[in-house]
């Protein structure tokens, strides 16, 4: 079965109110071309965003008024500033944040991928983030009686991932870490997984993500700019800086333009 689809076909399969798992990590390998496409669909609202560490991709969807909830350990631009649409959305209570640590988000996806209810860890035990958190419960070990955080499985309705290459059967290769393993958990945990790629090749041996777990492959070279794509592309620091300024000024149109231009530049690279 040929899994290569157009951007339009992808867009049609994403419905209002779905849980969106965002691949990549921090300022690395974020599925920005896919997110830009979704941000143009004004009908698409009430999304729940999940990511281990989110940045401009979440900021854009919040700025477009499309997200009602955000589950993450971080939402910011690191050295390049803050995500002001996120910040304002949370401060004005339009967006509900569910606070997680990075490890907890990973364990959520891993439990989701394994098909089990939760995974235990000693993280978050004494943190306020664990209070009233639908994904975290403090339990006692059946073996030692020790207190543990039970991190509940998370299963997104759709996953958005950017990768280096895929084949027609939907096998995907991500050439190096970080977040390679986490994206594999994400694909397995999600009901549908869409992957934008730099190129389509004939056959991928030993894929990072098996075609068994992917729904659609979209050819979108440069699709993770301005975030990095290790080892081929470093962060586009100029675009990130401009995005930071645009977000601070709450200029959504400008922010999208910055991303679009960064993708276009990298595509021609």
């Amino acid at each position: 079965m040929n899994k290569i689809i157009s951007l339009d076909e992808f867009s049609r399969q994403v419905k209002e109110g779905v849980k969106v798992g965002i691949g990549g990590f921090d300022l690395h390998r974020k599925p920005l071309a896919l997110v830009l496409e979704l941000s143009e669909n004004a009908q698409l609202r009430n999304l729940e965003l999940f990511g281990i560490s989110l940045a401009l991709e979440a900021d854009i969807l919040i700025g477009s008024g499309q997200a009602k909830r955000i589950i993450s350990s971080y939402t910011g631009l690191e050295n390049f500033g803050q995500c002001y649409f996120f910040r304002e959305g949370v401060e004005e209570r339009r967006v509900e944040p569910i606070e997680m640590s990075t490890y907890a988000t990973i364990l959520s996806l891993q439990a989701g991928a394994l098909g089990i209810e939760y995974l235990p860890s000693k993280t978050m035990l004494h943190s306020d983030m664990a209070k009233n958190n639908p994904l975290v419960k403090i339990i006692e070990s059946e073996f030692t009686g020790e207190k543990l955080s039970a991190i509940r499985a998370y299963n997104p309705d759709i996953a958005l991932i950017h990768a280096q290459e895929a084949d027609e059967e939907g096998n995907v290769r991500i050439t190096s870490p970080p977040a390679t393993k986490v994206d594999e958990y994400l694909a397995r945990a999600s009901k549908k997984t869409f992957v934008s790629v730099e190129r389509i090749i004939d056959k991928i041996e030993n894929p990072t993500i098996s075609g068994l777990y992917t729904t659609g492959i979209i050819l979108l070279p440069g699709g993770s700019a301005p975030t990095s794509l290790y080892p081929q592309h470093d962060i586009d620091a100029i675009a990130m800086k401009l995005y930071g300024q645009g977000s601070k000024g709450r200029d959504l149109k400008y922010c999208k333009e910055v991303i679009r231009n960064a993708i276009e530049r990298r595509r021609k690279d």
């Binding site: 949370v90 640590s101 035990l125 943190s127 190096s176």
Partner: protein, 238 residues
């Protein structure tokens, strides 16, 4: 040479890391101090990042925790789950963190600030809560200001002394090095130009400064020049 307050934090932190073997570095001051320490005092320091870049040696302040220079300079470029599992298993139990507020229990807030009922939202903590929850020894890097050194943080993002009985926490500020323990916060080492009264008055909690607190040697030109080369854009230094 006139130093910025942030530069003092990075250099004081680097000197503290002279005796460590392993160090999980949070973004900002901790990573900068670690790189500086590795170049000047402790070439064998094994710098680890939550992204999975293990035994890393970046040539400048990374743009972010996921910056590819952490990987290209890493002896073991693993992935996120392995990095956190190293902490959970206790293999690496020394970490460096920063945040917006710290309190007398060593709790760190990176989530929100409550200004008279009005919430100011911060970006969040990434892996900091994991670092704090799963480590034995913690270095907390913070500007020495009353709004940051508080009796009780507005929100416990990364928990402190309550995580384990043998927890050790050192607070690194632009005024020196302080121990956060069961008996409160006490000065261990003060910067050569730090006046005790000013140091005390610049914290909102009670700070114990005894006569036996050591004095830090003056900052060197070598430290300052290298630091400025590492933080090319002056990101963490103000």
């Amino acid at each position: 040479m006139q130093l910025k307050e942030g530069e003092k934090i990075s250099i004081i932190g680097a000197r503290q890391l002279a005796g460590e073997d392993y160090f999980f570095a949070g973004h900002g001051f901790p990573v900068l101090s670690a790189i500086l320490a590795k170049r000047l005092y402790n070439p064998n320091l094994k710098i680890c990042f939550e992204s999975g870049a293990i035994y890393s040696n970046p040539e400048r302040l990374p743009h972010s925790v996921s910056d590819i220079i952490n990987y290209s300079s890493s002896q073991f470029p693993l992935d996120l789950p392995e990095a956190f599992a190293m902490l959970e298993r206790g293999e690496v139990d020394v970490v460096g963190l920063s945040g917006a507020q710290v309190d007398t229990m060593g709790n760190i807030n990176s989530t929100l600030i409550n200004i008279e009922g009005k919430i100011k939202r911060l970006p969040g903590s990434g892996g900091a809560c994991d670092f704090a929850s799963l480590s034995r020894k913690e270095y907390i890097f913070m500007f020495h200001e009353p709004r940051r050194l508080v009796e009780k943080v507005d929100y416990i993002t990364s928990p402190g002394l309550q995580t384990r009985p043998d927890k050790k926490i050192k607070l690194i500020t632009n005024y020196g090095v302080f121990k956060i323990g069961e008996r409160g916060v006490e000065a261990l080492i003060l910067a050569s130009d730090a006046e005790p009264e000013k140091v005390k008055n610049s914290a909102s909690f009670n700070l114990d400064i005894r006569g036996d607190a050591k004095r830090l040697e003056d900052f060197t030109t070598e430290e300052i020049n290298l630091l400025r080369k590492l933080d090319v854009w002056g990101i963490v230094h103000r």
